[in-house]
């Protein structure tokens, strides 16, 4: 029982190649049916995303034939000659294939380490393959294990812990200041795309109310309607400020539009907790002097990007402990797989039984008297193999049944011991 994997990713292939080798969702079931030829490949799963294509298969006829089959299938399906894509492909077998799949599902091989999308995509690929009927005993266990390994990596290491996008860092900062956003009011000043995205993320994180201040009243009203918020005029900014907890600013102004002196005066009457300013505009629109006011926090685009960078580094550090998990999970799955593979044991059981029969034949040969060559060969080539098959059949059926459900190693050991007792 062998597992083979063929793939390409953003690390090995440019987008021109990836887009040509991707599998369209609608064609995936057909492709899966096509992949499984029952000779070289008897089970198959295809993971196809914008960053990678992975073909995972169980190869009953051996690694080489399995890999050949995957290569030929990929070329035939996309009607491309092998030499044109060969340099972009990676080929893995058995433990390397398992390890690669575990790393992919755990988002360790992703462009942004620890991102959460890939797990869903792997799940989806598995579901599609189940529906197409191309998943059997081996791949179903492998895919299940890949999903549980990915979950283990996410919970036991920090690869997915800290945010790595500007708007999620803004939410994280708001959480670290306010804890609970449900009572908080967000004000969006100006309408830069990124600022809008950050405001949107804050609202999704549970913020109570969104106010929009814009130079043009019409634009403010439009945005307010879009996000179910309130529009205020630019002039009313300082008047409204005491009621606000988070200000996100991104206007096209060339100079500071929010200044410390006015802010200090506006906040004099304010009696509630801290105030968070996020300035996503370049050139900056909030005077850095704001940060010196008591209980006021200001972060500009560089601060947010700095947080993103340091969180990315942190994820890469955490990825090292994830690799340790992957390594041990790979070992344990390989062991499991070998124990499922009853082929060699079947041969052994039959050989032992055949040996017993031949020994007995030798012992009692004299009593059979003179036999001609034809009779002699009928005993050794027909009678004994038939007996061995008959006797071993229930044993093998039992082994198969156990192997299908659980770790069968113990049963097989027992059987071997029992058979050897003579």
């Amino acid at each position: 029982m062998n597992i083979v994997l063929l793939g390409l990713s953003h690390k090995t292939a440019p987008v021109e190649v990836r887009e040509r080798l991707a599998f369209n969702e609608s064609r995936l079931p057909g492709a899966l049916a096509n992949l499984v030829d029952q000779v070289c490949v008897d089970e198959g799963v295809i993971v196809s995303t914008c960053n990678r294509v992975e073909l995972i298969a169980s190869a009953p006829a051996g690694i080489e034939k399995g890999i050949d089959r995957l290569q030929n299938f990929l070329c035939d399906f996309h009607e491309l000659p092998l030499h044109s894509i060969h340099s972009h492909l990676y080929l893995h077998a058995d433990s390397e294939a398992i390890k690669h799949l575990f790393r992919v599902a755990s988002a360790l091989d992703s462009m942004v380490v620890g991102e959460s999308q890939i797990l869903g995509q792997v799940k989806e690929a598995y579901r599609t393959a189940i529906e197409a009927g191309t998943v059997g005993r081996v791949l179903s266990q492998l895919m299940h294990r890949a999903l549980s390994v990915a979950k283990r990596v996410r919970t036991e290491t920090g690869v997915a812990l800290h945010p790595v996008s500007i708007s999620s860092v803004a939410v994280e900062l708001a959480n670290k200041i306010f804890g609970d956003l449900t009572e908080k009011t967000v004000m969006l000043v100006g309408a830069g795309d990124m600022a809008e995205l950050a405001a949107q993320s804050l609202m999704q994180a549970g913020a109570h109310k969104l106010l929009i201040a814009n130079r043009t009243a019409e634009k403010a009203a439009n945005l307010a309607q879009q996000y179910n918020g309130g529009a205020i005029s630019f002039a009313a900014f300082y008047e409204t400020l005491p009621a606000v907890d988070i200000v996100i600013c991104s206007t096209g102004a060339a100079d500071y539009v929010i200044r410390p002196e006015e802010t200090r005066r506006a906040l004099k009457s304010r009696r509630k907790g801290p105030l968070l300013f996020i300035d996503i505009s370049v050139p900056r629109n909030i005077d850095p002097g704001i940060a010196n006011l008591d209980s006021t926090f200001l972060f500009d685009i560089d601060d947010l990007q700095g947080a993103v960078q340091s969180n990315l580094k942190e994820r890469e550090r955490e990825a090292q402990s994830a690799e340790v998990i992957i390594e041990s999970e790979t070992q344990s799955f390989m062991k499991h797989l070998r124990s499922l593979d009853i082929g060699p044991q079947v041969v052994e059981v039959k050989a032992i039984l055949a040996q017993l029969a031949l020994n007995e034949l030798k012992r009692h040969r004299k009593r059979l008297g003179a036999l001609n060559a034809e009779q002699e060969s009928a005993i050794t080539e027909i009678l004994i193999p038939a007996l061995v098959n008959k006797l071993s059949h229930p044993l093998i059926a039992h082994m198969r049944a156990t192997a299908r459900h659980e770790e069968p190693t113990d049963t097989l050991e027992e059987l071997r011991k029992l058979i050897r007792i003579d």
């Binding site: 959480n175 670290k176 804890g179 008591d294 209980s295 926090f297």
Partner: protein, 273 residues
């Protein structure tokens, strides 16, 4: 007895180690070990206090050993309450080391209670003395909680202002959580302190016939009571909070500690073992 002390020392030591380690590496198995260690330690702690109280037939709050154990118990209780309400796990790093030190002192202290106040056996005083001492110790534990939360506020605020998003930043609770813990702890502590002082006055009246001895600790306690009253008043009425409030809760608690240390050199009636 020995087994209870061993369990307390080992359990709290595990808790201290984990709360310090968790600032840099957060391992699940370490967290689980520390959790069960803490559970075992707190259970033994409770059993010891109950046993001590039953065998002496009074509230276990007399002498160095019992006072330290009782104060440590109140601190752990405060932590559990704060954790239950706010999931403020980081408080452990402030509270558990103190708990461990107190338990070590208690474990090493002579268990004889030679410093037992006179006349504690009289019925009325049997209630008033433990009420006085116990309530004030609980109040101090609550004030320590507000001190810890204030300290976390200051550290977290500095991390935010300096834009350092390191491990400490992620481990500490949010500013508003720190502020809320500090506020609630002060409010609870103030109520406990007021009741404790009232019990003390009643006890003094019953024993010596006077409300007030004019002793250093009595004066200190009144000053502390006034300070916490003012803090509470400005928080409730003027919506005071944030950095200055956090600093105030830190400084006030330092005064509490100062008064307890000072009284050892000045003290008369209020010398605890």
């Amino acid at each position: 007895m020995k087994i209870l002390w061993t369990m307390m020392l080992v359990g709290y030591a595990l808790g201290v180690a984990q709360s310090i380690f968790s600032l840099t590496t957060d391992k699940r198995w370490l967290r689980e070990i520390a959790f069960y260690g803490l559970l075992a330690a707190f259970t033994s702690h409770t059993v010891w206090l109950v046993w001590q109280g039953l065998s002496a037939k009074r509230c276990p709050i007399v002498g160095t050993q019992e006072m330290c154990a009782f104060l440590a118990f109140s601190l752990v209780l405060c932590y559990f309450i704060a954790y239950r309400w706010y999931r403020a796990n980081a408080l452990k790093a402030f509270i558990l080391p103190i708990v461990f030190v107190l338990i070590t002192i208690a474990a090493l202290a002579n268990s004889s209670t030679s410093n037992q106040p006179q006349d504690i056996s009289q019925p009325l005083q049997k209630i008033l003395f433990p009420a006085h001492a116990g309530l004030i110790l609980l109040a101090y534990a609550a004030f320590f909680l507000s001190f810890g939360a204030g300290l976390m506020y200051i550290i977290q605020e500095r991390e935010l202002k300096q834009k350092r998003f390191g491990k400490i930043f992620y481990r500490l609770p949010s500013l508003e959580t720190c502020d809320a813990i500090s506020f609630k702890a002060i409010a609870a502590g103030f109520v406990l302190l007021t009741l404790g002082i009232a019990a003390g006055i009643a006890w003094s009246r019953a024993r010596d016939g006077v409300f007030w001895h004019g002793q250093p600790l009595e004066i200190f306690v009144v000053i502390i009571w006034v300070i916490y009253l003012l803090m509470l008043q400005s928080r409730i009425n003027a919506g005071w909070g944030g950095r200055t409030a956090a600093l105030a809760s830190i400084i006030s608690f330092m005064l509490v500690i100062g008064s307890l240390i000072g009284v050892r050199y000045l003290g008369t009636l209020h010398v605890f073992g």
